[in-house]
Amino acid sequence: MNNEEIRAELKRAIEEEHVMLFMKGTPDAPRCGFSARVTQILNASGADYSAMDILPDPRIREELSGLSGWPTIPQLFVNGELVGGCDIVTEMFESGELAETLGVEQPARPETPAAQQPAQAPPLQIE
């Protein structure tokens, strides 16, 4: 595969997969703590997702970061758009936004697990 083919395959995955995770390792055997955390979150949220291991060829990561403008791995895409990396996905999961992102964007599938909304602490902590 040359770089263009890699890029085309990445684009295809981003565009065609509803929830697409690029990670180090696989969901069953993540090779990095940050990738592991995102797979745990996705598993907990009950979403169907596809995952691609970027480790087999360094060009995958180069092309992916070129496409997304995001320098680190993991990278989560929903409906063709970059949601973010581990920090953002974690924050969105804790606030309940992630379920919304995974759910609202998927009107064709009403059985989407959109009900996942962790109880939140009171939003204001100003003394």
Partner: protein
């Protein structure tokens, strides 16, 4: 790998008026976490806020800095003059979205 103070200084210089709290997640010096308080984040999506911080270290992340974990905070304004001291465990966190 750049020392923590250097990472902190570079963030604070690149984002005028910001305060950055940089910690070492693993003790190895290359998995860093930066909590950045910056009023210039206002109006940007969280994705854009993080990209802004990453852009300061373009080319270094994945290299000398193996990982940079980011938390961005927009200081709450009009707060009785008490400044938003950095590293306050997010006591001035922006939690405006949602409102459920």
């Amino acid at each position: 790998m750049p020392p923590l103070e250097e990472v902190k200084e570079r963030i604070e210089q690149a984002l005028p008026g910001s305060t950055a709290d940089v910690t070492d997640l693993t003790g190895g010096g290359d998995h860093l976490r930066a909590e950045v308080v910056y009023d210039g984040f206002a109006g940007l999506s969280r994705l854009e806020q993080h990209k802004l911080v990453y852009s300061i270290f373009e080319g270094e992340i994945g290299g000398p800095i193996h990982a940079l974990s980011i938390k961005t905070v927009i200081p709450l304004g009009g707060n009785d003059g008490s400044s938003e001291a950095a590293g306050n465990d997010g006591s001035s966190e922006q939690r405006t979205e949602g409102a459920r």
